[in-house]
């Protein structure tokens, strides 16, 4: 394995640059959350500070809706955990590249490990030569998203009511994920994972507390992995 001595500066700004286009999806999400927080009955401060305390888009939306609906606190906590359980898998995926760092780096980088920061930085970690400064890439993607998320949450709280609902800006969220998923489907096993997850997510809609998210994710992973194993066994024999 070759190592290249990329500078902290280069890694950080490469992360920022790669993350910026995704903010076109994050920004409307932040605005939507700002609006939704108030509409769910949270105060302006509760809505704004949730974006830095929880810092996880889908889980914040569910938190606001459940809390506003008078759902008991343990159920709200369990729901947020189920929705954010996917981060365990992101954590495992990134850990081999960051585990040697001191705790003062690992804790903030874990805090910044959101869907969109992970999606961008894992490509750099996997596909480009290792560098002693490669963690600055995650700092760049993570901080870019963090700043955008905080600013747009505040904007959503302050100006949100004036954005016409007919614009359907919330649709930018799945579009951002489409931009990440579609090019990543290269093998039959990837397609199997995608189709399985999509089907379970639809069929599982009646499940309480968005239980279909983790069920669809686990089902998709399992299906993709089984096809991958089967295919490899056949090509090996």
């Amino acid at each position: 394995m070759t190592t290249s001595a990329t500078s902290r500066h280069d890694e950080f700004w490469a992360g920022v640059r790669a993350e910026l286009p995704l903010q076109l999806g994050v920004a409307p999400f932040g605005l939507v959350f700002g609006v939704l927080g108030l509409a769910s009955g949270l105060s302006a401060w509760e809505t704004i500070l949730m974006s830095s305390i929880v810092f996880g888009g889908a889980s914040q939306v569910v938190f606001a809706q459940l809390w506003g609906g008078g759902v008991p606190a343990p159920v709200v906590g369990a729901s947020v955990s189920v929705i954010n359980l996917r981060h365990v898998l992101y954590s495992a995926s990134v850990a081999p590249y960051l585990r040697s760092l001191p705790l003062r780096w690992r804790v903030p980088l874990a805090y910044l490990l959101t869907d969109e920061a992970y999606a961008v930085t894992i490509n750099r970690l996997r596909d480009e030569p290792p560098s002693p400064n490669q963690h600055y890439h995650l700092l760049g993607t993570g901080m870019t998203l963090w700043i955008c998320w905080q600013v747009t949450t505040v904007m959503g709280v302050v100006f949100g009511a004036t954005i016409p609902e007919s614009w359907s800006l919330g649709f930018a969220i799945p579009l951002t994920f489409i931009a990440l998923v579609a090019p990543a489907i290269r093998r039959r096993a990837d397609l199997t994972a995608c189709l399985t997850a999509g089907t379970i997510a639809v069929v599982g809609q009646p499940l309480p507390w968005k239980g279909w998210i983790i069920l669809a994710a686990v089902g998709g992973i399992l299906a993709g992995w089984l096809v991958h194993r089967h295919h490899r066994r056949r090509t090996a024999s």
Partner: protein, 104 residues
């Protein structure tokens, strides 16, 4: 009370993001687990995408007269052809707005 619940949720989320960075976590994942983790982004993101396109806020299936469905298909094509996040979002939002204006 809401602040306590929010802080607990924040700590839970942080701990799930941190867990594998811990010194106590296994050094090396078993090969089968690492293979399986390769399918995580596709499965998780698809699980978020599909309901956002075809499930109504009430939880019902929404196929006919739903401008988001053709718009999402345009976005998938744009993503495959251009590999650009900007082009994907722009084509998807644009298609939805055009369909909503002229057809639905």
């Amino acid at each position: 009370m809401i602040w306590l619940v929010m802080i607990v949720c924040g700590l839970l989320t942080l701990s799930m993001r941190f867990v594998m960075f811990s010194d106590l976590a296994p050094r090396q994942l078993p090969g089968w687990l690492e293979e399986a983790l390769g399918f995580v982004p596709v499965a998780v993101l698809t699980a978020i995408i599909v309901p956002a396109v075809i499930i109504s806020p009430e939880g019902g299936l929404m196929l006919a007269g739903n401008s988001k469905l053709p718009a999402a298909l345009v976005a998938v094509t744009a993503a495959l052809v251009t590999r650009s996040v900007l082009a994907t979002i722009a084509s998807g939002l644009g298609s939805m707005w055009i369909l909503d204006y002229f057809l639905y």
